[in-house]
Symmetry: C2
Subunit: 234 residues, 2 copies
């Protein structure tokens, strides 16, 4: 540890709450700024967030509960590297749960809810033509979370939210060969079925959509590069 490091104050003087730290790291993972395998050192995180290791540790434990990071005793915390099996199970779980959510959505969604979804999809289109890859990915994932929330079962919505986050980890680890366009187009088709209140078709489309995303994945040999922690979380 250099003298400079000791003398310098934490670069960002912000003092964060534990939940805020969890949110920031989860966000960075979902935005694919922190690649699978990246080491999350406790002191390094503490410096970045301006807190002691105590809080960082609590945050890491929470994230481990959501499977976004993996704690190896004595070694530390690492962004999870999802196994092939785990990936398949996540997609299957999503088909089951989100299929049910779509059905519920058709039942309970108001015109306003559907309008909200339409606006979300419009935003996706804008991000695809102009925005960053990060905002694209975030919006494509949020689509599913929003649907779950509207469907009105908070328990299922939370599960979906966790699975969506894990999915973005999976699609980074196994680079996906599909463009954002493909997903966005399928979202549009799903919306069309929802507008017609065609439950059966909507459920089928959602299931197929998730299968398509899964099929687009391939094993990569080269691990994604691990960037500087501070820039990923800043």
């Amino acid at each position: 540890m250099s003298v400079v490091r000791v003398l310098r104050k934490p670069a960002t003087a912000m003092v964060m709450d534990t939940d805020a730290i969890v949110a920031r790291i989860a966000e960075a993972i979902a935005a694919q700024k922190l690649p699978p395998g990246a080491k999350l050192g406790e002191e390094a995180l503490g410096d970045i967030f301006g807190v002691s290791r105590t809080k960082v540790r609590q945050a890491l434990f929470q994230l481990a509960g959501d499977k976004l990071i993996t704690l190896i005793p004595g070694r530390g915390a690492f962004v999870t590297q999802p196994s092939v099996r785990e990936s398949k199970e996540v997609f299957e779980a999503r088909r089951v749960i989100e299929g049910a959510i779509v059905a519920r959505f058709v039942e309970v969604a108001t015109t306003k809810d559907i309008e909200m979804l339409r606006e979300h999809i419009a935003e996706e289109a804008r991000a695809i033509s102009g925005g960053s890859a990060q905002s694209r990915n975030r919006l494509l994932g949020d689509f599913h979370t929003v649907m779950a929330e509207v469907a009105g079962n908070a328990v299922l919505a939370e599960v979906v939210s966790e699975l969506v986050a894990r999915t973005s980890l999976i699609t980074l680890f196994y680079q996906n060969t599909r463009g954002a366009n493909d997903s966005a187009e399928e979202h549009r088709q799903l919306l069309s079925a929802l507008e017609k209140r065609d439950t059966k078709r909507a459920v089928t489309l959602m299931s197929e959509h998730l299968s398509n995303v899964e099929k687009g994945l391939v094993l990569r040999e080269d691990a994604p590069a691990a960037p500087d922690l501070r820039s990923a979380l800043g």
Copy 2:
């Protein structure tokens, strides 16, 4: 804090791992030894498990992630008191997820798997005639967890496991008017459908079974009594 307290060693000299503490508390809640609303003081737990508050705190955070306890900032940790809405959502989520699991079970279960389930049900019967209320409840819940595990999707199995634990909290908070017999009988009927590989009927039976459990719940006015922590966790 009395002098006696300071002089006396922790009653149980065991030193536990964080995960072991989580398991013990979760177990006690599932076994309905710790009623909703019970206060879980950090120092008290530390004394019981022979560790410092640091480890206890980690355990409490993990349990909060599973919604078994609720952390109120500055006030402490309490066994969760599930709201009516939350309870409905848990049952609905279980119908969705366990319906899918039953279908998968029929597909993948070997003769041996079904035999295991049959043996489990036999054990339920024994517990109902002779065992304690606690072991009855545990077995009735485990039935669902076992099915999820056999079905072979670890992601869904873990979700089910969490929902089962929350359910036992719900059935304690809202005292259920059904006997253990009723559930056990429905388990038997489900098994019968599974043996015939009748997917459709099995899914229906599972869904109805969960609905029946839910229907048996009633709001109680009197909060369950909170026993001594040490006896509940010992």
